[in-house]
């Protein structure tokens, strides 16, 4: 028994002394519970933004908007009747918008099928919840108007001219996430390995400069990620008939994103003295970024402070930009996000080049 106890304690001691072990035993579950709890808590959150274009002048559309307002879930704003809602959704890269057609009230009055059109990104948690709330509101209206008989259906609409499926909306987030993981994790680990095995010292004896070394890592990451994107896209196209497009801007995003995360990884490599520390540093930054930068869900219904944190995460701008160009075709908004990613990349590159030393103190 003593041997078993002694072995257990000894193993536990060694396990916990490895930074990776401590991360996955303690930091990782705490991060998950804190992140998920914060994302899905509703207390401090503001309503989900729902721009509504009401083309109907009858009473029932007003009734529906009133019921939606009473739910407290939506923060309703008005879209002018004179513009195309589809263009509006694309131009603003909206993940949610509602259109009430001009015949909504007259159809209900005549007991004809009435519809409302919900635009947006069906992969977003806010979209699915909004769909449920809208459906409940229509049901309630049905009770009020006809004693419970169905009075209207919800038609799901895609932004832009294409009919998009849920996996189309997932693609930009996956691409952004892949860029971050491949470039940042790879670079942090590479720096740590180079330091612990003496490769930096070895390289310092050559004519290679730090900035040249970093540039070569960026070029490799860019080429690898573009190849990965094209391959993933081709497979998804064949298997799922993907509608989202690889635009020239999306390729630029991959390259600039690789530049930003390669530089950020090198910056972390300044802190990480060995491969274990590298893994811990990458995970501590990478995991929250995975969840809070909008790769899997949008944070429009999350608490305000969480949305502020999200805006401080480099991956947010990469994801948003990729979504702008691949889903909404909103090149103006994509350009803004691209500028942010590029600016962050330059800052990280300069900092990393200056702070990293290949030589001994």
């Amino acid at each position: 028994m003593n041997k078993i106890l002694s072995d257990t304690i000894s193993f536990g001691r060694q396990y916990l002394r490895t930074k990776v072990g401590a991360f996955f035993a303690f930091v990782f579950p705490i991060l998950l519970i804190v992140l998920f709890g914060a994302v899905f808590t509703s207390g401090e959150g503001r309503g989900v933004s729902l721009p509504v274009q009401n083309l109907d002048s009858g009473p029932y559309s007003q009734m529906l908007i009133e019921i939606l307002n009473q739910t407290g879930y939506f923060d309703i704003s008005e879209i002018s009747k004179n513009i195309s809602i589809s263009d509006y959704v694309s131009d603003k890269s909206l993940s949610l918008a509602l259109c009430i057609p001009g015949d909504f009230s007259s159809n209900i009055s005549s007991s004809l099928p009435a519809t409302v059109q919900l635009y947006g990104d069906p992969t977003k948690s806010s979209y699915m919840v909004s769909m449920g709330v809208l459906s409940a509101a229509i049901d309630q209206m049905g009770y009020n108007v006809s004693g419970g008989a169905p009075i209207a259906d919800i038609v799901q609409k895609s932004p832009g001219s294409k009919v998009l499926e849920p996996y189309d909306f997932l693609l930009p987030g996956f691409v952004g996430l892949t860029v971050m993981i491949s470039a940042m994790y790879f670079m942090t680990a590479t720096c740590a390995e180079h330091r612990s095995r003496g490769y930096f010292k070895l390289l310092a004896t050559t004519t290679l400069k730090k900035s040249e070394w970093l540039t070569s890592k960026f070029l490799f990451n860019s080429a690898m990620l573009i190849a990965s994107l094209l391959l993933t896209f081709a497979i998804a196209k064949v298997m799922f008939d993907l509608k989202a497009a690889i635009t020239p801007t999306s390729l630029i995003f991959v390259v600039v994103g690789a530049f930003m995360f390669t530089s950020l990884g090198m910056l972390f490599g300044v802190i990480a003295k060995d491969p274990e520390s590298a893994s811990a540093v990458s995970n501590i930054v990478g995991f929250p970024m995975m969840f809070l930068a909008g790769s899997f869900w949008d944070l429009s219904a999350a608490p305000v402070y969480l949305q502020a944190i999200s805006m401080a995460m480099p991956l947010t701008y990469l994801n948003n930009g990729l979504r702008d160009t691949m889903i909404y075709g909103n090149e103006t908004s994509a350009a803004v996000n691209l500028a942010v990613v590029l600016a962050l990349g330059v800052i990280f590159f300069v900092l990393a080049s200056r702070l990293m030393s290949w030589k001994e103190k």
């Binding site: 003496g198 070895l202 390289l203 310092a204 004896t205 050559t206 004519t207 030589k359 103190k361």
Partner: protein, 315 residues
């Protein structure tokens, strides 16, 4: 401070201190002539690696003047980087590159691209041609070190630093590397060799500086050091005993007893043959006769007061 003609490295008053009060290198001065093998010899922690890393431009000195290949090493190292080759201590090759790939890569980093034939020539030179296409992680310790030397030579350096190149290697691998270093010297390359192997320094170095606790405590050629700090060369008459000593004394040859052996010191090694002839002509009974030549090990023992094994002083 300008280097004089034919001097490749000139060091004066070099100090390297670490907080709070560690003096890794404490006022070291020496110069290295072109085409020679200069060895920094000393136990672990003596300050050898710190000294050479400063000379390699990898560490900043606290004070002192260092000129390497006619430039101020603390300021202008980038201008001579192409002329310097380095095999760092505990060299590890890139695991997932073959020797063939590693040398081609390294040559590119120095801006001296090599053809496949040239790379194979380098591998032939260091005896690794038969292992050219296997991953470096599968090389033995000696082979990895050979690859390290091959990398350090890709730019045909004027000055080559080898920091403990044979530490931990078996005798055969050590001898192979010694041959490589001798061949490199023959081509006119100046070699700075740090080692804690006394026999290595004695065999390879033209000039040896013995370092201890950050200072150079003795410097000169192995012969000069032995002459200055070692005992004289001697002929040992095993088991000659008191009778033998008496007989030698009767013939006017002075000797001393060491146990039951009789030791006859010879002032100059060139007198050995004459003394052997004299002793052979005397009717002294002994089991065997041999020459006891002083080595750097004896010098080291005399200076430091302790033997050294694998870089560790045996106090």
């Amino acid at each position: 401070m300008a280097t004089t003609d034919g001097v490749v490295v000139e060091v004066s008053g070099l100090r390297k201190e670490y907080p709070p009060d560690i003096k890794a290198v404490d006022g070291v001065s020496f110069s290295i002539p072109r085409g020679k093998v200069f060895s920094l010899l000393g136990p672990n922690g003596a300050g050898k690696t710190t000294t050479v890393e400063i000379l390699e431009g990898l560490r900043t000195p606290t004070s002192g003047q260092i000129r390497v290949l006619d430039v101020d090493a603390a300021r202008d190292y980038s201008s001579i980087r192409k002329k310097v080759g380095v095999l760092p201590q505990n060299f590890e090759p890139f695991d997932l590159l073959t020797p063939l790939e590693a040398i081609a890569y390294w040559a590119d980093l120095f801006g001296v691209p090599m053809t496949k034939k040239e790379v194979e020539g380098r591998l032939e030179q260091v005896g690794l041609i038969h292992r050219k296409s296997i991953m470096s992680k599968s090389l033995s310790g000696g082979e990895k070190r050979k690859l390290g030397i091959a990398l350090s030579l890709v730019n045909s350096p004027e000055l080559l630093f080898l920091d403990e190149p044979t530490t931990g290697l078996d005798p055969r691998a050590r001898r192979d590397l010694w041959k490589l270093i001798e061949d490199t010297k023959k081509k006119g390359t100046t070699v700075v060799l740090t080692t804690h192997y006394l026999d290595e320094a004695e065999k390879l170095a033209d000039d040896v500086a013995i370092m201890h606790k950050g200072k150079i405590i003795a410097q000169g050629s192995p012969g000069q050091l032995i002459n200055k700090y070692g005992k004289k060369t001697a002929i040992v008459l095993v088991d000659a005993g008191s009778e033998g000593l008496k007989e030698l004394s009767r013939r006017g040859i002075s000797g001393v007893k060491d146990g039951n052996d009789v030791i006859v010191e010879v002032g100059d090694p060139s007198e050995l043959r004459v003394m052997f002839a004299k002793l052979s002509s005397i009717d002294v009974r002994y089991k065997e006769m041999y020459t006891r030549r002083q080595t750097l090990e004896d010098v080291f023992l005399g200076l430091i007061g302790a033997k050294m094994e694998e870089g560790v002083l045996q106090e």
